[in-house]
């Protein structure tokens, strides 16, 4: 049964739609994944379009959740159409927010070569992977690869109740420290935790790859120099920074510097 009132105040049950672009659909799967609260979720909102979960679909929605990055011209058109219809457009997951793992292909700076390698004799249209913000205005972002269902539920609950949606602005270190983990730098492993937006995951002795993008006051230059001090190679640092796209500019700058340094060294060697 849909909930009609909260503390005596009538509630509006928004119509929501889920759309995927270039992505693995894993974020949408996360939403379906928690059966314990799925019915509560469905009584809070009216889902009108969700290809992964239902056959029916209408174009009448207020909140659009977008998963995936943009890699084709038809995706640009489709996304712009969605933007026109939706009152609130939510970028959901690393691909939508930053280009995600998809944008790793941009690293080669040669779309034709990438296409040849991947598709060979069966070419399809595939351009550089872009975050959806490059195409339309985004009202809200939900970070992570994949997103965490509880976080989506909190966002939706707050939207329905008219409460503000606040993401943590500080980095992963806070949660990692709360979990009483040993800092991975003390164990000789690289980690982007000190500059990545706080997450729930630290505790598996796996350094952060930055899927949730930069925290609000991320001092990325400083963490790069700390990683160098810990003897991590520029390639290791670049791999980390460019994995999910959130730190793209920093990865590119470091690449430029590294190439420059290598050429200088070569010349000096001659």
């Amino acid at each position: 049964m849909p909930v009609e009132k909260y503390l005596g105040v009538p509630l509006h049950r928004p119509k929501v739609a889920f759309f995927e672009f270039t992505a693995c659909e894993g974020c949408q799967l996360q939403i379906l994944n928690n059966e314990a609260t799925l019915l509560d979720f469905l009584s809070l909102v009216e889902v009108v379009s969700f290809r992964e979960a239902m056959k029916e679909s209408t174009g009448d929605y207020e909140i659009a959740f977008i998963e995936g990055s943009i890699t084709r011209a038809d995706e640009v058109k489709r996304l712009k159409d969605i933007r026109k219809k939706a009152k609130v457009l939510v970028a959901m997951g690393s691909c939508a927010c930053f280009g995600g793992v998809n944008q790793l292909k941009n690293r080669f700076n040669n779309p034709k070569w990438v296409k040849d390698q991947v598709y060979g004799k069966f070419p399809v249209e595939s351009e550089e992977a872009r975050p959806i913000e490059d195409v339309v205005t985004v009202d809200l972002k939900i970070y992570g690869c994949p997103i965490k269902k509880e976080e989506v539920e909190k966002v939706v609950t707050n939207l329905v109740l008219g409460k503000s949606v606040n993401h943590p602005k500080y980095p992963v270190c806070m949660e990692c420290m709360a979990n009483e983990n040993i800092c991975l730098y003390k164990l000789g492993e690289p980690c982007l935790g000190p500059v990545t937006r706080d997450a729930w995951c630290p505790g598996n002795r796996c350094g952060c790859w930055g899927c949730r993008g930069p925290a609000d006051a991320a001092n990325v230059e400083q963490i790069i120099s700390i990683m160098k001090e810990h003897n991590f190679s520029p390639d290791t640092i670049i791999d980390r920074l460019e994995c999910f796209g959130g730190f793209r500019e920093f990865a590119e700058e470091l690449k430029r510097k590294t190439v420059k340094a290598k050429t200088k060294k070569k010349r000096a060697g001659k």
Partner: protein, 350 residues
């Protein structure tokens, strides 16, 4: 004060006697790159896990009395109202076995704010009142500057305090509870040579301190150097990650968040320990941020520790345990920061 002697072979008995309660003590958590053990406070299930000769722990035992996340209250929501339920989140007493003097002194400082102020914090008080503390004499590490802060020895605030004399422990007994516990094991009166040995051990410990902080007129100097460029130097290094506060035994600042359950039938109010170095620490309603710059936030951390608290309570809020300096990836170290602010000169070669 009553003094006793416990043979080392008898220590296991003491732990066993205590074990009817939950024992929290220093245990080995891992091994560092240098092959040396890394310690943490954790539940002690087996006597052999208790590492009383530990160097330091990366984090204090704070999570047992000031947890990083704590539920303050739950709400049941009806159509036209709500019911509130409060739990102070302590269901058994804790025995803290092996706290160093700095960590005992940290509790005294926290007490001043959270227990003895006009508005005591019941969540802290409930846990604090259910503590049994066994202190142990420490081994000064290169980063320890507690002696400068006057927190290198604990005069009170423990039930008993052990000092390692070699094959036995010298025990200071301060509470009736401790006295009664000791009745269950073999102890003896200290002899003259035990007193002499105790004095030797303490003198030897005091010789091992190397790090120092000049605290002379520090509160005043911090005011004079409010506009110093040196803050900017440290601010540029700072990652604003909050690790210093997370590992600090006396940082108690927090934020509160209320969230409504997805079925709209319940809600929860949670407390989350915060750090003044985090970007939105001084952000207020409407989005205005009083301290948007990293160096300003870092400066206020030092102000709270060494000036604000000092003016209120005539002592610093820092116990000189050096944990923040050790944990900071950017190598922002308290003795260096204070020395640079005092002299107005940025450290060279960094």
């Amino acid at each position: 004060m009553i003094f006793r002697i416990i043979e080392k072979t008898e220590l296991k008995e003491l732990v066993d006697v205590m074990a009817v309660n939950r024992i929290i003590g220093p245990v080995q958590k891992g091994t560092g790159l240098d092959g040396k053990p890394l310690y943490a406070f954790g539940p002690v299930a087996d006597f052999n896990d208790l590492k009383l000769d530990y160097t330091t722990t990366a984090r204090p035992a704070k999570r047992y009395f000031l947890p990083s996340h704590e539920t303050l209250c739950n709400f049941k929501i009806h159509e036209n109202g709500w019911e509130k339920s409060v739990d102070f989140n302590i269901h058994e007493p804790h025995v803290f076995f092996g706290l160093h003097a700095c960590d005992i002194n940290a509790l005294h400082k926290l007490d001043k704010v959270l227990l003895k102020s006009s508005f005591p914090t019941p969540y802290y008080a409930a846990k604090r009142m259910n503590m049994f503390i066994i202190g142990i004499e420490c081994k000064p590490q290169p980063f320890c500057f507690c002696r400068s802060m006057g927190t290198d020895s604990a005069l009170h605030g423990f039930d008993m305090f052990l000092t390692d004399l070699g094959d036995k422990y010298f025990v200071e007994v301060q509470s009736a509870a401790a006295f009664n516990f000791l009745k269950n094991i073999n102890t003896s009166d200290p002899k003259e040579k035990d007193h002499a040995r105790y004095m030797e051990v303490v003198a030897e410990k005091n010789r091992k301190f190397t790090a120092t902080v000049d605290t002379t007129d520090l509160a005043k100097i911090l005011d004079m150097e409010f506009q110093s460029d040196v803050w900017k130097y440290w601010g540029d290094k700072c990652l604003s990650c909050g690790t210093c506060a997370s590992v600090c035994p006396t940082c108690y600042c927090y934020g509160v968040e209320e969230s409504v359950d997805i079925d709209l039938k319940g809600a929860v109010k949670k407390k989350h320990l915060y750090s003044c170095n985090l970007i939105d620490f001084a952000e207020v309603a409407g989005g205005h941020n009083f301290r948007p710059e990293s160096h300003t936030r870092l400066k206020y951390r030092y102000y709270h520790k060494h000036r604000g608290f000092a003016e209120e309570f005539e002592e610093s809020l820092c116990v000189g345990c050096g944990r923040c300096s050790e944990a900071c990836l950017a190598k922002i170290k308290v003795p260096e920061v204070i020395a640079s602010i005092r002299s107005g000169v940025k450290p060279r070669g960094r």
